[in-house]
Amino acid sequence: MKTHYLIPAIVLGMALAASPASAQKKYDVGATDTEIKIGNIMPYSGPASAYGVIGKAIDAYFKKINAEQGGINGRKINFISYDDGYNPAKAVEQARKLVESDEVLFILNSLGTPSNSAIQKYMNAKQVPQLFVATGATKWGDPKNFPWTMGWQPPYQSEARIYAAYILKNKPNAKIGILYQNDDFGKDYLKGLKDGLGDKAKSLIVSEQPYEVTDPTIDSQVINLKGAGVDTLVTITTPKFGAQTIKKVAELGWKPTHIITNVSASVGGVLKPAGLENCKDILSTAYLKDASDPTWKDDAGLKNWIAFMDKYMPDANKADGSLVYGYSVAQTMVQVLKQAGDNLTRENIMKQAASLKDVQLEMALPGVKLNTSATDFYPFDQMQMMQFGTDSWKLFGPVITGGVASAT
């Protein structure tokens, strides 16, 4: 079976980017007639090694493109991925290696807020694109100060604002308790939530409980939240702590309105380990399809993804949301490169990345589209809320466009 998975995207892209393949070939370092060199930095070792599969998924997808389509516009993709062990100092070293020694055209989807913060200034000074960074911090969409850096996933703050709006509308007198990871990720969400609640933040939030990634359990924090009389719990955690929280809340016989971040909403990766019976009515949002959610079992996009997985990553655990993430990042990249045509300068890559119009990825939720412009560096800024039933998420309400892009 040889299908062009990106047909809708390609059609759209062609329609919008008038004539992508201009006659004249233009290259910067890293691109030739036969090859495009793309760099990447991932935490294959160290505390965040769980996310290393993103790099592997991107790599696998590019292998597929090279094998099945002969690359993009006749150029094979050479994907060079390095390990930074989630250490910013190492990320700087690896970024410089990619740019100065391997001479890549750009760096794609480097992971982690600290690592990307560390290399941002360097990349912009060198004028090398730092594309589609793998972090949802809000600061990545700042074209005025950092024209060479672009985010990809919905900003954490956008998602948090969606929850804030939901609470204000449905539980105006909520007693909100927040459990958050004490790092850039947690604090960004916290800010988004407070901004979204506006004046009412002070009166509605009754307890904020941070935890460290190094904490073995979050039991103590959950007990404090319950003790503070919280009736609306917002859980801003990574998957492991998300599962722990769901389980502990159930063990305590506590039934608050429970909102959990998209990061920890995977059915296979979080809810199943925590016990599906404990997850009834939990709220979250999504922008990508959850491969472990039975809702999508007959979905064409998912079937393509499964076919890809079976062929190129047969040993991977399909419940891992990072695989869908990496796959979608790679598809976005392919789209941008197709748009760029034969003009493979760094400037044009950046320009094309900033000219995505209503691109519907096959693993994105229906209606959740990629959009960028010269002033909008948040490719994904749409999400939809969902509530857990007995064994799968049920999407509800409209596709919401986050407020952050327009607010800044």
């Binding site: 390095y82 390990d83 070293e93 740019v99 982690g112 560390a118």
Partner: protein
Amino acid sequence: MNTAAPVSKRRAYEAPAYWRWLGFLIVAAIALPLPFLLKNFFIFQLTLAMVYAIAILGLNLLTGFNGQFSLGHSAFFALGAYTAAILMDQYDVSYYWTLPVAGIVCFVAGFLFGLPALRLEGVYLALATFALAISMPQILKLSPLEHWTGGVQGIVLIKPNAPFGLPLNPDQWLYFFVFAVAALLFFCAYNLVSSRTGRAIKAIRDNPVAARTMGVNLSLYKSLTFGVSALYTGIAGALGGIAVQFVAPDSFTFGLSIALFVGLVVGGVGSIGGALFGAWFVLFVPNIAEQVSKGLAGAVYGVMLVLLIYLMPFGLAGLVRMAAMRFARAKR
């Protein structure tokens, strides 16, 4: 583990003084032209290697020469880096002035930490320093300090340009700058170790009871060594922050302490020159490991470490010393 006397009690083979000078000249002859031959990226890597070498040397002064075990040197590295970063970022202090300040701050911190640590030995000291390493990133993230530390986001720094209109790019300049600082610090370490004070420090390692009866003030010397060790590591931290142009809590986790410790062991406990090889290992072996296998990068690293320890249980310095001893014997 019993780390009261962690190093072998065998008599070390002492190379004659002129060998050391010769060694230094060879190193300098190789190191000085390098920045004109290599790409900027490699210059940057070598700069980082020198930074780690200084930090490992600091750890070696404490563990190798004084017999005090520390898993907490990432904390002093962080303290030095943040001192430099905050001075540069908030008070516009020139980068070169941040080094002495970072050194002094870390010396004081190390000395003060050394005081209660006096009561602890072996595993207990290991735990106390371990606790320090674990706590440091959390303290750096602390909300009340966010104004200075930048909290979880860290501080971005500007790379210094070469002064006096020297025809060097920032990477080359920083390389020479770090080389000069490293040369000075290594020189001081050599002199310290072979001085009267140095003998007292080593006597404490080898036989504390005898040292005391010889009139060595144990508490003072141990705390001072802790301070000097922290000073070295703190200066390394400041240089590291300047070179990387970014400091954040995640750069200074317990993993850094482990890396420094591994560098210490493979370089050679109680050897000053060994720190250079240790730094090389810390910086490059993870890169080699990930080239072998991405999924098993950690395992490959571990296996390489195992093999290296089999090959030279006393570190590279031990191996060199043994070879030198054989050589000297053969000559006789």
